[in-house]
């Protein structure tokens, strides 16, 4: 029965690389305005990455103007996502970075981690 459901679920988006908590990413989202379709970028830090095939999602946090934090959760199998670019990896010691919500300014930075 699980196979039947698997066959119906959305296919993996090839333009999405492996994403981990702490990564700085740029999510390219397709937006429909009337008949026109354009692409909007959402740049920020991944504070949560949930695996799980069809239901996998990431939550991206970005500090907008006036220091207001904005978090957006993206379903990775959604047809609305054009692509995701990982700009840098951050060094983090936990999977959920909810502590970032209390941080502002200089303390809200993550140390960069380089691929070996």
């Amino acid at each position: 029965m699980a196979d039947i459901i698997k066959a119906l679920e959305a296919k993996k988006n090839e333009n999405i690389p492996a994403i981990r908590s702490g990564d700085s990413v740029s999510v390219h989202v397709k937006i429909k305005e009337g008949n026109r379709e354009r692409i909007q970028e959402f740049k920020g830090t991944v504070i949560r990455a949930r695996k799980g095939g069809n239901d996998e999602s990431i939550t991206v946090r970005r500090v907008a103007s006036n220091g207001i934090g904005v978090e957006r959760t993206f379903l990775l199998r959604s047809p609305r996502i054009d692509k995701i670019v990982v700009e840098r990896h951050g060094e983090v010691r936990r999977a959920q970075l909810y502590f970032m919500r209390e941080r502002t300014g200089k303390s809200a930075r993550l140390k960069q981690k380089f691929d070996k």
């Binding site: 029965m1 699980a2 039947i4 459901i5 066959a7 119906l8 679920e9 959305a10 397709k30 429909k32 069809n54 239901d55 379903l75 199998r77 959604s78 047809p79 609305r80």
Partner: protein
């Protein structure tokens, strides 16, 4: 054509629609069903169509069930269910998921999951007792069941603890979001009673 199907609940998932919105969908493997009997007001006092579903070894059926199907030249079928309908149908007619179309509303009947002997809090959403202020053993108690000397008894039908679940439950007006005639699958938006593998009936919605 009759709008009714017997099926098996496969499970739930989420499917993206054209706008890219994720929808909660229950997948049901339904049909192909065959008309096994037509009830008419003249003969039976009501109009209905009996459908059969599911392959089964003839040994698994009783002589009565087998005879009922053999007399009409039909293959052995595991489940027989009646659908009230005034539509005309002939014995042996095949009903598939193509009887329904995407965007249509359907009612789905299933058997809810059994909860065993459940207390009032779970069964009827009683508030239970206080969580603090010196309570002992009163957290999930039902409270008073009735009044005092008058009437001196508990009214029949009063809500309380008891067996919960394994009831016939109908969910009305679920939207059909997908149909796969090749694999006999139908997807409806929202949840359907019962566990995976449970028998469900799909009918035309009473309230459109």
């Amino acid at each position: 054509m009759l709008k009714g199907l017997i099926g098996k609940k496969i499970g739930m998932t989420q499917i993206f629609d054209e706008q890219g919105v994720a929808q909660p969908v229950t997948i049901i493997e339904a049909g192909p069903c065959f008309v096994t009997q037509v009830r008419t007001p003249e003969k039976d006092g009501y109009a209905a169509i009996q459908l059969g579903f599911g392959e089964v070894h003839p040994k698994r059926l009783t002589a009565g069930e087998l005879g009922h199907l053999n007399a009409r030249g039909l293959a052995p079928m595991k489940f027989l269910r009646e659908f009230r309908s005034k539509e005309t149908a002939n014995v042996g007619d095949k009903v598939t998921v193509e009887a329904f179309s995407v965007g249509e509303r359907v009612d789905v009947v299933g058997t809810s999951k059994g909860k065993g002997f459940a207390g009032g809090v779970k069964r009827y959403h009683f508030a239970g007792g206080k969580k603090t202020h010196g309570q002992s053993d009163r957290h999930r108690a039902p409270g008073s069941r009735s009044s005092g000397t008058t009437p001196g008894r508990v009214y029949k039908g009063s809500r309380g603890a008891g067996h919960m679940g394994t009831d016939r439950v109908t969910v009305q007006a679920l939207k059909v979001v997908m149909i796969d005639p090749e694999r006999n699958l139908i997807g409806v938006k929202g949840a359907v009673p019962g566990g995976k593998g449970g028998l469900v009936l799909i009918k035309e919605a009473r309230k459109q």
